[in-house]
Subunit: 132 residues, 3 copies
């Protein structure tokens, strides 16, 4: 079952924990065993999985991405957001997660993040569930 | 249904828009709702999703990847294409995209790209469709 | 069918070829056509696909990742392993691979790697198979 949700970001670079949103989609789908594909339909954002305990971790990831791919770097794209496009391809447009007995299977420290690289904006997330 | 297609690249580093090829595979599969896995069976190439409007965007991504992972950088691999292998793991070997009512679901600016990092060559792309 | 396996890593940064482990899971699942999702439930490790012929390739990838994301770099996360978290999001938590006629479909040079970035440790890998 395909679930479409909207989220609002509040900074140019930001990780938003969407794990509960994915859990809700799995619950709505009534799927017992399978996977969920969490897809970002934007080219200046991404989906990743990383630690949810210390907010310093996601801050460090955002900081390191911005040092590797600076806002200004002699890009040719006139809109001025090439850094966000590069980050999107480095982090990736989707994550596939496992569902077991109706439950999202993640490691104890893992959360699913929507990665905003050109906000703040209104954004969408699509979640497709597939039975095993 | 598994669809295998060949493409030809024309430069060492190049993004080739394969969205229409993926749409054809979905059409052939007659799948209504599900996903398509777009897989690159090469270790010096990758698959990504990014902007299709301004060709400056993909040029900027290729340029930034080559500045982060230069052609010559004291690599140990004797073939001289370690940069391409690193880029392949950074960008990733596949993308999973959603199919709704027989139609590929992408954001308005998104295309699916075959990323050549060690061309020009003859390359393959595999597309597996799965029903939801 | 969901298969869970444990592996042991022996260095802080290390690629471990888990292709045979994935092949065993596919065999156990008795799946004919579909995909396998190879998922890493850890936030300081990842899954990638790259060359299996010359070990210099994976050594070069590890070396380049460590030069882009050094162990010490003014990170805020107090545990001292932010480099591993960044690498995890750059490489990605999973790979999706195709199964055709009961056989894992990979390119001739491709292997599936568990990427340890904060070892040595005992780690887990989850493999979910889905029919096409």
């Amino acid at each position: 079952m395909l679930v479409k949700r909207s989220i609002t970001t509040s900074r140019r670079n930001e990780f938003i924990d969407i794990t509960s949103l994915v859990r809700e989609a799995i619950y709505e789908s009534a799927l017992v065993d399978g996977v969920a594909i969490v897809f970002c339909p934007h080219t200046t954002a991404a989906i990743t999985i990383n630690e949810n305990a210390d907010p310093g971790v996601t801050a460090d990831i955002l900081q390191k991405l911005s040092s590797l791919v600076p806002l200004r770097d002699g890009y040719s794209h006139a809109e001025g957001n090439s850094d966000a496009h590069v980050k999107s391809s480095l982090v990736g447009a989707s994550e596939t997660v496992i569902i077991e007995q109706g439950t999202l299977v993640l490691g104890v420290w893992q959360s699913i993040y929507f990665c905003e690289f050109d906000g703040p904006r209104s954004r969408n997330v699509y979640i497709q569930t597939l039975a095993a």
